[in-house]
Symmetry: none
Subunit: 419 residues, 2 copies
């Protein structure tokens, strides 16, 4: 089958100032669509070298996929290099110019001449609109039908363009007949070795579907990948493995595929008609940020207090000064009063509180850096608390604590709403 | 000067199952040693394709640096491909065989025949011992003196080999007497095309130091890179360019090199002995999360309210219900009252408030998705407000608003503390 190669453009890649995550993202989506990639390349912001790389790629392969170098600055040269490599001129693509003019008007900034350059595309190419930025992508063709797909380098502009436009084009153009389907099961609250232990022999024995375990901080995903000639056939291979894995990891799978802990929580809150509030100390707003990442979360997430200073814990959440004096700000008692205060004052059904020591300073022999208390208050039943000692640097501790907090909230809602 | 290219070997890279961090690590160390890298590549575990890639590289460049594919398994084929590309046979490298035999004896496992393969190196090559694994690296030579450096793909085996053996070899071989120094200036509040416009002719004219513009969401970095025979000489080249760029972007450069908006804000708060509070609606805790990412931020960041629901804006921040009824939750008036409430109730010197529509739902003709109001209350002077219309998906809007909020806070502190 015809193959393609990926070309990432940017001098910063050759200087090692940026790890190229775009190439892996593109490669993964092409693999899932059954499109062969035989090589990937990175090249600097040099017109001749970009053009030479593209020429060499389309000698070997059916097409080149580039990312980066489409912006307005003088060292954005990918479009010029594609024109060189394919022997094409440029033409103005009006919709992109219109979009750019509207955008600059909206933010009240002048549009410079170098922005206009972005609305020009190689002659005869297929435009790829970019709703997330100013530079459109394009698919340009050589007279013999070989092609170059060019996308921006900014990940949030490139990713939707790849998934929505480029992958369908490539499947059609290259007649990809095998498809790879993937199902991801997201777990929370289990370690990697525990997940591995529970699904071990499935994991070893299965070639198609193939099963992989991917660990994040305090979260583990199980990935099931099947290859077949149709999506239906691939899904039929996935289904029995999925059933068995879901059985073995019951109570810890919060969602599938694109689900996040926050989207799962939001769904449970909606189903139960419940409202949640937060009282965050050392997670500093990260749990609130996660919950509000979900569209529509305003219906069930009331709000929270980032109670960094003790005075805020007292004034905004009603924690007793005596409690802080007696047990410290990082204690089960303080966490319980924070959760209680958040629930009552925000008029929520359930509230989660976090307090801990993110470091690098502030640890003691009794209360080391990484010590964390979580409390969940739901009104009727007694407030529950959890204690953890988290390892790592400040950022890792804050992120792990955020995942733990979301896990506590999800398991509570999952149990209480299923009952 | 002669250049090299990097070739990462491994099918998992072409399937996007692994992000290639080795290439960036190697590229960075070569850049610092003044060795030019004109391209990097990734290729699968396919003997012919690896050999073809290496052949193409040493036509263009003085040498190829490979990483990966030196292990004992059937799909480790880099050494064979290097022999193919350079037309060399193999010879046994005894010290590597000895080390392997000792290692297997120590762990009490039998040594397999496929392990012995790892102790064979291309004839005439320079061995690179691997104290952290079983596969030695090597530097193999073509009859005309062009060369291939091959290192393992496991980062903890590759990294010391690169730093201790390969970089000194390359400096010697390529006569790299130069070093590259880098200075990054971080701006906030200017678009990419505006920064480009202001430093345009510097940017075009300067070869050494070279100047590059890198854009993030509502943030732009300017990078100054100088090549010289010593660090001091490189820094002397950077200094005048830096002065000129700082002059042209005055009031928008919040920091250098490793600085973040949050670290710059934290420093200003510390210098001014000021305390800050937040009232976040549609940024949902992201500004608080950014501020608390900085160690020691608890000294100057008091806390904040994530006032997602209107009831929270009223009860926790004292926003008047009448105001919300008359002007809406997304309005200058509501933002001002939120900021005022946060400053007074949290006992802070300055407070920032955000309110907006992150979407995808909730927009109207009057108040579209992306509309955002920011307010800054500092007690004495009148409360300031800013209005934006942000484009993009929910996540992009939330992130841009976070950057804008941090920019507003930084500029205010920068002005008021410098006075």
């Amino acid at each position: 089958m015809a193959s393609v190669e990926i070309v990432a453009v940017g001098t910063e890649l050759l200087l090692g100032q940026l790890v190229d995550t775009n190439t892996a993202f593109i490669a993964q989506h092409l693999a899932e669509a059954g499109i062969d990639v035989h090589a990937t390349h990175a090249v600097g912001d040099n017109r001749d070298r970009i053009a030479a790389t593209i020429r060499a790629v389309i000698e070997r392969a059916e097409g080149a996929i580039t990312t980066g170098g489409l912006g307005p600055t003088i060292d954005d040269l990918t479009k010029e290099a594609v024109c060189d490599a394919l022997d094409l001129g440029v033409e103005l693509y009006e919709p992109a110019l219109d979009q750019m003019q509207r955008m600059f008007a909206a933010i009240g900034r002048p549009m410079r001449g170098n922005n206009r350059k972005q609305a020009e595309l190689p002659r005869g190419s297929l435009p790829l609109d970019n709703p997330n930025g100013t530079a459109p992508g394009f698919i340009a063709f050589r007279s013999d039908g070989k092609f170059v797909v060019s996308m921006p380098g900014v990940p949030r502009e490139m990713k939707p363009m790849l998934v929505e436009r480029v992958v369908p084009f490539l499947r059609e153009r290259l007649g990809a007949r095998e498809t790879i389907c993937t199902r991801v099961l997201h777990t929370i609250g289990l370690g990697e070795s525990e997940v591995d232990h529970r699904i071990d022999e499935l994991f070893r024995l299965s070639e198609n579907p193939k099963i992989a375990i991917l660990a994040h901080d305090f979260r583990v995903d199980v990935k099931i990948m099947a290859k077949a000639t149709s999506v239906e056939a691939a899904q039929a291979l996935i289904a029995p493995a999925q059933d068995e894995i879901e059985r073995r990891l019951e109570g810890n799978i919060f969602g599938r595929d694109a689900a996040t802990p926050a989207s799962a929580i939001n769904e449970l809150l909606g189903a139960g008609g419940l409202k949640v509030a937060l009282a965050e100390s050392f997670t500093g707003g990260r749990i609130a940020a996660a919950l509000t990442s979900v569209p529509g979360s305003s219906r069930n997430f009331v709000g929270g207090v980032v109670a960094y200073d003790n005075s805020v814990k007292i004034a905004q959440l009603g924690v007793k000064a005596d409690t802080i004096a007696a047990t410290g700000a990082v204690s089960a008692e303080t966490a319980m009063q924070m959760a209680h205060g958040a629930r009552v004052r925000f008029g929520a059904d359930v509230a989660l509180a976090t307090t801990g020591i993110a470091g690098p300073d502030g640890g003691t022999a009794d209360k080391p850096v990484g010590l964390a208390w979580f409390a969940l208050d739901q009104g009727e039943a007694p407030t529950q608390t959890w204690r953890f000692e988290l390892s790592g640097e400040r950022e890792a501790i804050q992120q792990r604590a955020t995942t733990i907090g979301l896990g506590i909230l999800w398991r509570h809602l999952n149990r209480s709403i299923q009952q």
